[in-house]
């Protein structure tokens, strides 16, 4: 946009002289129209966050009231984090691309250091997962920052060193150590769910970064092997997986089957149009983690098939938006970072829903931007903010070399 809008206030003659252009540039930057993708991503994200807030309020109110006396405890916390997250996202969306490139190498070091705190006395175990850090003022999940750091770092490495893509030795030497350390630390805290999301995120970055498929195939086979080995170790995990494979019985209903079975019952109770917002029965202490890992079951119960499909549709829309952004970006860093964020958010969402639907065994992965959980929400929104920052400027048509 090069012309001054007519609505600009007419300057008085006395001020017209000395520095008219400075003011004009600032105003133009502020009012510059964003791209379609910017608004599509922002709008979808904000809608999902607000929808998530409503569902967190609905699904947490009963348990929050019986535990703390206030039905709004978990909701208020989530709302504060949501507001902070959206602020962080909007701030991040203003950052220029070189800012992310500059901080990428340091981010991975910081995240790994932060993750190490889990193993210090500051670490807290929640439900067997030693995955939390008590920072005095609030508790945080360092593994969430690992996701973000990996996004930036992988995008930086793969975009700035294209020779890695075709040489598995170099790739292995530079990427693998950091990936193994960060994922290993998360798995060391017995957080299988986040570990799986991290692995998917890494694969997404490599896949869309242009790494040869056969390298990826070998890595996937290796990851699957490790995953299988891990699944045979943890006691509760073995029984969860066998319950998933063999179905629920009266005996295991009271332990490993309780959550998935009640999740299925919640969905069934919803039917086509749901029982109505707030009318869930399962949130009355029946369904564990109703506001978290199993919030999709409550959505299905209260809003029915219609509401559940709407949520699926939102994530599909998000995926399409990410793909649009990747295709219209010119900077490889932006492409790879966006792809990594996409595989992270969409992958995590699909895994979460698959668990609730009984397609996967219980893994302990929250539904991004909808489930209750402060650090996850802020970090996810920061990830979206980074992608938003790539879309603020409409890419100039690139002169493709003639072939």
């Amino acid at each position: 946009m090069t012309t001054t809008p007519r609505s600009l206030p007419r300057r008085r003659p006395t001020e017209a002289g000395p520095r008219p252009n400075v003011a004009r540039v600032a105003v133009r930057r502020i009012f510059k129209a964003e791209t379609t993708d910017f608004f599509l991503l922002l709008g979808t994200t904000v809608f999902i966050v607000l929808f998530g807030l409503v569902m967190v309020l609905s699904s947490s109110s009963i348990e929050a009231r019986s535990e703390t006396g206030s039905a709004f405890g978990a909701f208020t916390r989530q709302a504060v984090f949501g507001a902070a997250g959206i602020a962080v996202m909007l701030l991040a969306s203003r950052a220029p691309i070189f800012f992310w490139k500059k901080w990428a190498p340091r981010a991975i070091l910081f995240a790994i250091g932060f993750q190490l705190l889990v193993f210090t006395p500051l670490g807290i175990a929640v439900g067997g997962n030693r995955n939390w850090v008590d920072l005095g003022l609030f508790t945080a999940q360092p593994s969430e920052t690992v996701k973000l750091a990996l996004v930036l770092w992988l995008a930086f490495m793969l975009s700035s060193r294209p020779e890695l893509l075709d040489d598995w030795r170099k790739l292995g030497a530079t990427i693998a150590p950091f990936v193994v350390v960060s994922v290993g630390l998360v798995l060391g805290g017995h957080d299988l769910g986040t570990g799986i999301v991290l692995i998917i995120l890494v694969f997404g970055a490599l896949f869309f970064g242009g790494v040869r498929l056969r390298y990826l195939g070998v890595a996937a086979a290796g990851a699957a092997l490790v995953g299988f080995a891990l699944s045979q170790v943890g006691g509760s995990r073995v029984s969860r997986i066998s319950a998933w494979l063999n179905g629920c019985t009266e005996e295991n209903l009271l332990d490993v089957c309780w959550q998935p079975q009640h999740g299925t019952w919640a969905l069934a109770a919803g039917g086509l149009f749901g029982r109505g917002l707030g009318n869930s029965d399962m949130k009355w202490n029946w369904l564990p983690e109703a506001d978290n890992d199993y919030i999709f079951a409550i959505i299905g119960e209260e809003l029915g098939l219609v509401g559940a499909v709407l949520v699926l549709g939102l994530f599909v829309l998000l995926a399409i938006t990410f793909v649009r952004i990747i295709r219209s970006s010119r900077d490889p860093f932006a492409k790879i970072a966006t792809a990594a964020v996409m595989t992270w958010i969409i992958g995590q969402a699909l895994i979460n829903i698959a668990v609730v639907l009984g397609v996967l065994p219980v893994l302990g992965v929250p539904l991004p931007m909808i489930s209750a959980g402060g650090s996850a929400l802020i970090v996810t929104l920061l990830g979206v903010g980074i992608v938003l920052s790539f879309t603020r400027t409409r890419p100039e048509p690139v002169q493709e070399p003639l072939s």
């Binding site: 019986s66 869309f208 019952w265 969905l267 009355w284 202490n285 299905g300 995926a319 295709r327 699909l350």
Partner: protein, 576 residues
């Protein structure tokens, strides 16, 4: 386009295809769970959440003829708990909660704790029974999540002992006596069933209550009894029974034209609110349940029978000695006298046993037996009161000559107070016996009335026989030896006294049942009153019952505003 870019496009397209494929699988799975299998899954899950509860509706009221409440149901609640959740609750520990509840209900906290610990795995236990609304409200304010309440209306008798013997009472196992028992079909409510859903911690989910069967309240039972009159009559016989040292007493007030019972009083009376306050023998109604040898009040029946057959007239002459030799024994009058020249009227007036026995010889005993049956002796009245006696009539084949004679003056036969009242009602109602009624009807919960079938009256004796007998009985009141205590100023009263010996083990003892049966106004009788006192100490003749009869009859005549009699009675001659 460079290879890298083509490759990226392909990979992006592949990604979208995979995402859409996965989402499609999810949608199919969602449809499977939420639509296809929904019914089966819901059945599994609701059976775990839903808790059936019995709902209660109040039992019907018992009201008197004017609508005053004799029995009603008060709202009470049973406090129940789920021991399973109670014992597991950390927010509301059992001991602490039990103390708080006990402070409201006045129980011993240990009792509550014991009730909860009796079956620790159960989902239902009674914590406190029958608490009032106020107590319920305060218990609910404790906000103990494992505590529930069940509506359990309890029975209340606002008028206490007034008509208590008729109304009966409700025990812990349901109706135990009186109309509460015999009219249970009208009064009983039908329990309903509803279910609610509970949270995993036992909390009742709001809005989850589903009523499967609506609880139906009981019907309202209306009696013919006038509770104000009933109260007065109970007071009157109570005072007299105390004054005479009588063991028990009854009084019946009946409407002559309809056979409706306006008061059926028993002494000792029972307060249904506190049935333990009276000996178990008196929990029912003596007036219905206890037949006695009526004695001379029966002479009116004999006279009406003879008149109906036309074998005597009011002035038929007879010589009545003090003693009369018959068959295997003697019959005597109640006082020593020489031979008296009496008419039938005089026989009644002087209550001569020898006189009535001789006059009855004009008629075969078998015919008199039929009349006795037609007057209702030997059959329960239409009321069918709980524990009512038919006053068994010995088969005629078993009657010896002595019984045949004794029956003319009310010995050797038995009748209840209500049956005696019914005999006098027949005489008062021109010889037509009306079915005895105690219950006017039953108002169903939907407002419709089911009236007790009254039935047609049956003619027992001719109008002439009945009216003449009543007229002769006026002589008893005006000129008999109880004239002083029977006459009521302004009204013509017809009545007969009775003093019967009580037989115990086949031998007559010195104990008596003294009674007066009568009606007023004699020219067109409207009300029948019967008073009996059993085993009085101080006055052992019917003189003890006469003042009470007059007291009750005066009250009835004034209460129901019966116009005073205008013409004086022209009495038949009593002697010749």
């Amino acid at each position: 386009m460079p290879r890298a870019q083509r490759s990226l496009r392909a990979r992006l397209a592949l990604t979208l295809v995979v995402v859409l494929a996965v989402v499609t699988v999810f949608v199919v799975r969602l449809i499977d769970i939420q639509v296809v299998q929904a019914a089966a899954l819901n059945e599994q899950s609701t059976s775990r959440r839903s808790v059936p509860v019995t709902t209660y509706a109040p039992r019907g009221e018992i009201i008197d003829s004017t609508g005053k409440v004799l029995a009603d149901s008060t709202d009470r609640w049973d406090i129940t708990a789920s021991p399973r959740y109670a014992l597991a609750s950390t927010k509301h520990p059992v001991q602490e909660s039990a103390e708080a509840i006990a402070a409201i209900t006045g129980q011993d906290p240990a009792e509550i704790v014991a009730a909860l610990q009796a079956k620790p795995d159960a989902d239902h236990a009674y914590v406190s029974r029958s608490v009032s609304l106020d107590q319920l409200r305060r218990i609910k304010e404790l906000d103990i999540s494992w505590l529930y309440d069940e509506y359990r209306p309890s029975r209340n008798y606002p008028q206490g002992s007034v008509a208590g013997n008729l109304v009966g009472f409700i025990g812990t196992d349901g109706p135990q006596a009186g109309l509460e028992l015999s009219e249970n079909d009208c009064l009983a409510s039908t329990n309903g069933v509803s279910t609610y859903e509970r949270g995993a911690d036992g909390v009742r989910l709001p809005g989850s209550t589903v009523t499967e069967t609506q609880a139906q309240p009981g019907g309202t039972l209306q009696l013919t009894i006038d509770s104000d009159l009933q109260y007065f009559v109970q007071q009157a016989i109570g005072q007299q029974a105390n004054a005479l040292g009588a063991e028990s007493a009854t009084a019946v007030v009946m409407k002559a034209s309809s056979g409706e019972l306006l008061a059926v009083a028993d002494y000792p009376s029972v307060d249904p609110n506190n049935v333990d306050g009276v000996d178990i023998r008196y929990l029912g109604s003596l007036a219905f349940s206890t037949p006695f040898e009526p004695g001379s009040t029966f002479k009116a029946l004999t006279a009406a029978t003879l008149l109906d057959k036309g074998v005597v007239s009011p002035t038929s002459k007879i010589v009545a000695p003090y003693e009369l030799e018959v068959g295997d024994g003697t019959i005597k009058d109640s006082f020593v006298h020489g031979d008296l020249n009496l008419t039938l009227t005089g026989v009644l007036q002087n209550s001569s046993n020898t006189g009535i026995a001789q006059l009855a010889e004009y008629m075969p005993a078998s015919q008199r037996y039929e009349y006795i049956e037609r007057f209702g002796i030997g059959t329960r009245t239409e009321v069918g009161f709980n524990g009512e006696s038919p006053s068994p009539l010995r088969p005629f084949e078993d009657w010896d000559s002595r019984t045949a004679l004794n029956s003319t003056f009310g010995q050797g036969v038995v009748a209840t107070s209500v049956q005696v009242a019914s005999i006098y009602q027949t005489l008062a109602n021109n010889g037509v016996r009306m079915p005895v009624t105690l219950v006017k009807g039953c108002q169903l919960p939907d407002g419709s009335w089911v009236d007790t079938p009254t039935g047609e009256g049956t003619r027992v004796v001719s109008e002439y026989a009945a009216d003449t007998t009543v007229h002769m009985l006026e002589s008893v009141v005006q000129d008999g030896f109880l004239a002083k205590s029977l006459t009521i100023d302004g009204y013509r009263v017809a009545a007969k006294s009775g003093t019967a010996e009580i037989a115990e083990g086949g031998v007559y003892t010195s104990d008596r049942v003294i009674s007066i049966a009568g009606m007023a106004p004699a020219e067109n009788p409207e009300y029948v009153v019967v008073v009996t006192l059993t085993k009085p100490d101080t006055i052992k003749t019917s003189a003890g019952a006469a003042p009470t009869f007059r007291e009750i009859m005066s009250h009835v005549l004034t209460t129901y505003r019966v116009p005073p009699s205008t013409d004086p009675a022209e009495l038949y001659p009593a002697t010749w």
